[in-house]
Amino acid sequence: MIMRQGQQLLLPANPFFIWVTLLGAFMLSMLQNIGFWGRAAWVPDLLALVLVFWSVHQPLRVGIGAAFVLGLCMDVHQGGLLGANAMAYTVLSFFAITIHRRLLWFSVPSQALQVLPLFVASLLIGLGAKMLAGGTFPGWSMMLAPVLQAALWPLASVILLVPQRRAPDPDLNRPL
């Protein structure tokens, strides 16, 4: 495998951790809805963010099928059109897998800029499907959601890679 210059050697990802973070992102999305902002349209979709992250970093573990199932769960939780989020997440995951070899060669802020079009595309798919099915237009504040998701990408790449950045041989000086 060709490695880019200065790349840190990472421990293999724990599949259990991947699924826990996906579930955690889903629960955080629910918490944003239930506890804070109700049905506001600008709220960043954390599940989409984590899904893209793992589709880029571990495309063999998290793929299109998982994205579809998570999208269905999101649809049922939101109480909207069944299949709209599933389609948006499917497309999101597909494009994430398409760019996964290339994306990690860039610096993290540049990566954030490159995943922004993905989030916008997924938003437009959801918008198109729901407007065709006769929904109410929620206002232009919804265009803020993909920007916020892309802005959270650097944070996600720090938090979600922490277990893989641990020392392979922990000792007294490096307990983790």
Partner: protein
């Protein structure tokens, strides 16, 4: 997929699985099928109910800290504001008890008059109290989730009211929760009656109003409607009991190019802030079945007997 790390097994040579593009095609087609089935045929409710039952424990878990925070916010409220609130409640209750006595009197009178005139008795809907848990997250519709479901005997289609008027209608029932579509949702329609003039109409949720208003559609421009008129349910739909307050007329706009007036309403129920609601039984379930027309029953009974003759 085994739970070991992938890096320790050589990649498969032959069975590489379907390509990403074919997976995308299949999943997108499936999603499209689900969307069409959901909007056009309405056959996806069982699938939705199954997924919702799986999601309920997760939702419940997320709801707990929210409930604690809400509960503690109430707990640390100052004594003064609590007693002021209680005082206000007592005043309201006194006013309402006066009204309730009058209503009792009127009901009695009404019953006697109806007996006198041999009219059919008014329908009284049985009620069930519920609490709103949260707004449904979908920003394209206006729905809320309440904490009563199939196990509590809620049926789809039941009207939901709060202390001020009609709030909406139960549209989906799951195991322990159900989904209420608010009257401000663009797809929700409710037959109403102008309490001042007695003119009937249909009020819809307003699509263009982001805050959540309503409009009275298909009202001819020369109809007598004024700002400030109160609309109540007319009871002709077999769902809502008659006489529940729905909305107040905000603005009447008569334009020369249209035969219909543009009438903006504001709902009387607190569609944005209420916590406790009542779920009524749909009126249609209490009305006696329509009497079968004699010709309809006699024809099939007579038909087999005719060849014997």
């Amino acid at each position: 997929m085994p739970l070991g790390t992938l890096d320790r097994t050589p990649p498969p040579f032959f069975r590489q699985g379907p390509s990403a593009l074919s997976k995308l095609t299949v999943c997108t087609a499936l999603a499209l099928f689900l969307m069409v089935a959901d909007t056009r045929f309405g056959v996806t409710q069982p699938l939705r109910a199954v997924i919702a039952d799986f999601l309920y424990p997760v939702q419940w878990l997320v709801l707990q800290p929210v409930n604690w925070v809400r509960g503690s916010a109430v707990y640390f409220q100052s004594l003064q504001s609590a007693s002021a609130g209680a005082e206000q409640m007592r005043i309201t209750m006194a006013q309402q008890s006066l009204k309730a006595n009058q209503v009792d009197q009127l009901m009695l009178e009404n019953t006697r008059l109806r007996q006198l005139l041999e009219l059919r008795a008014r329908i009284n809907a049985s009620t069930r109290a519920a609490q709103i848990l949260y707004d449904a997250a979908d920003p394209f519709s206006r729905k809320v989730i309440i904490d009563r479901g199939q196990v509590h005997g809620i049926v789809a289609g039941s009207p939901v009211i709060d202390g001020y008027g009609v709030l909406g209608q139960v549209t989906r029932v799951f195991g322990a929760i159900s989904e209420v579509t608010l009257i401000t949702d663009g797809d929700q329609a409710i037959p109403v009656l102008n309490t001042r003039t007695g003119v009937r109409g249909v009020a819809f949720g307003d699509l263009s109003n982001p805050v959540g208003g309503m409009e009275l559609r298909f009202t001819p421009a020369d109809t007598d409607v004024q700002a400030g008129d109160v609309l109540s349910t007319s009871g002709v739909d077999g769902v809502y009991p008659a006489g529940l307050a729905v909305a107040r007329v905000d603005k009447v706009e008569r334009r020369s190019e249209s035969v219909f007036a543009r009438i903006a309403l504001s709902p009387l129920a607190q569609v944005r802030g209420t916590m406790h609601v009542m779920v009524l039984q749909p009126v249609g379930s209490q009305i006696e079945a329509r009497p079968v027309e004699p010709s309809a029953t006699s024809v099939p009974a007579a038909a087999p007997s005719t060849p014997k003759r």
